[in-house]
């Protein structure tokens, strides 16, 4: 962390930055094109992987984390907590069954026109059978 001598901040040549920008623009093009391809359940994963590749480029080159181990640890530590927050929440969501209070006999409608604890068929807006 502490640099005791001055000028320990290496100057990155503009060419590197220009190449990073080019890579970012190419990845943006790819992510737009990929959104037209159906990967089934992997759609969101593909989008997030490409976004993370772009984010890594920005953090490493534009934010100079390549030469900045100390702050990289701070940043990645923050991301780690965010990952725990997100992934554990999604574990819960993925494994949830509709649970009704014991004194309630009818399913809850979350908002007018909503399915009763289950997904909707887009064409009709009606419940599609039973909940997953």
């Amino acid at each position: 962390m502490a640099h005791l001598n001055e000028h320990t901040h290496p100057v990155t040549p503009p060419k590197t930055y220009a190449l990073v920008l080019l890579a970012l623009l190419v990845l943006t093009f790819i992510t737009v094109q990929a959104s037209y391809i159906d990967f089934g359940p992997w759609n969101t994963v593909v989008a997030l992987v490409i976004a993370s590749a772009k984010g890594s480029l920005v953090a490493l080159f534009f934010m100079h984390l390549r030469h900045d181990r100390f702050n990289a640890v701070i940043f990645v530590g923050g991301l780690l907590f965010l990952a725990i927050f997100l992934i554990w929440t999604l574990f819960d969501i993925a494994n949830r069954q509709p649970v009704l209070p014991s004194n309630l006999k009818t399913p809850i409608q979350e908002f007018p026109g909503a399915p009763l604890n289950g997904p909707v068929r887009p064409s009709t807006g009606q419940p599609r059978g039973t909940a997953q």
Partner: protein, 224 residues
């Protein structure tokens, strides 16, 4: 961070600039301290937006059809344009840091101006997107008044859309204020290879705003 010029301090051997605060031993120590402070702040920003992303994830998982249908109201072309504009602004911002590091005052001013322009373009595009949504009645929560939906519950998508892009837009505006402040100081000739902490630190903030948009764009515009 403050622009106070300290009075002549006893350490004349490295008192090249008037911008060294008296409580730091040397410029690089001041620079590192400022940078750590900024990174800690950026982590809090990540967690602030992170909470919204988690909420988005929950609602998207529970109501996939509603989110799917709602995102068709968004214009992908404008979203992609804004992504490109913001990426270019990140590049010009990092180039202004480079210009400061290499004592190129004219280029520093030029790149700061370009960054400001890109941010302005981003906000103008946002204005057109938002006014279109207002006009269509695609508003968050109970204000949603769009007619003729076949899929119910689309208001939830717009609650997240406006909360997340709105908070992001406020960050862009704050970034524009910070860059304007840099521009004023750059014109005054404050920055050099010796002292460019404010440029570097504003740059870090600006790249984080860009980073958040990198995730917002596919999640909002490219659901498939």
């Amino acid at each position: 961070m403050s622009t106070l010029t300290s009075s002549a301090h006893p350490h004349a051997d490295h008192g090249h600039t008037p911008f060294l605060q008296h409580h730091f031993r040397e410029m690089s120590q001041q620079f590192d301290a400022a940078k750590i402070g900024m990174w800690l702040f950026l982590v809090t920003e990540v967690l602030l937006f992170g909470g919204l992303f988690v909420g988005y994830g929950i609602m998207h998982a529970r109501h996939p059809e509603a989110f799917m249908a709602a995102h068709h109201h968004l214009d992908r072309t404008l979203g992609a344009l804004n992504t490109v504009v913001l990426l270019i602004s990140s590049f010009t911002m990092v180039m202004s840091v480079w210009a400061a590091q290499t004592d190129r005052k004219k280029l520093l001013i030029l790149f700061l101006l370009l960054t400001l322009m890109c941010a302005g373009v981003f906000m103008v595009v946002k204005y057109f997107e938002y006014s279109h949504k207002f006009h269509e009645g695609l508003l968050p929560g109970k204000y949603y008044s769009h007619k003729g939906d076949t899929v119910p519950g689309q208001f939830m998508f717009f609650s997240f859309y406006f909360m997340m892009t709105g908070l992001h837009g406020i960050h862009v505006l704050a970034g524009m204020v910070a860059i304007t402040w840099l521009l004023v100081r750059a014109i005054k000739g404050h920055f050099s290879s010796e002292y460019y902490s404010p440029v570097e630190i504003t740059g870090l903030y600006w790249h984080l705003v860009d980073l958040i948009w990198i995730y917002l764009f596919p999640l909002m515009y490219l659901i498939s």
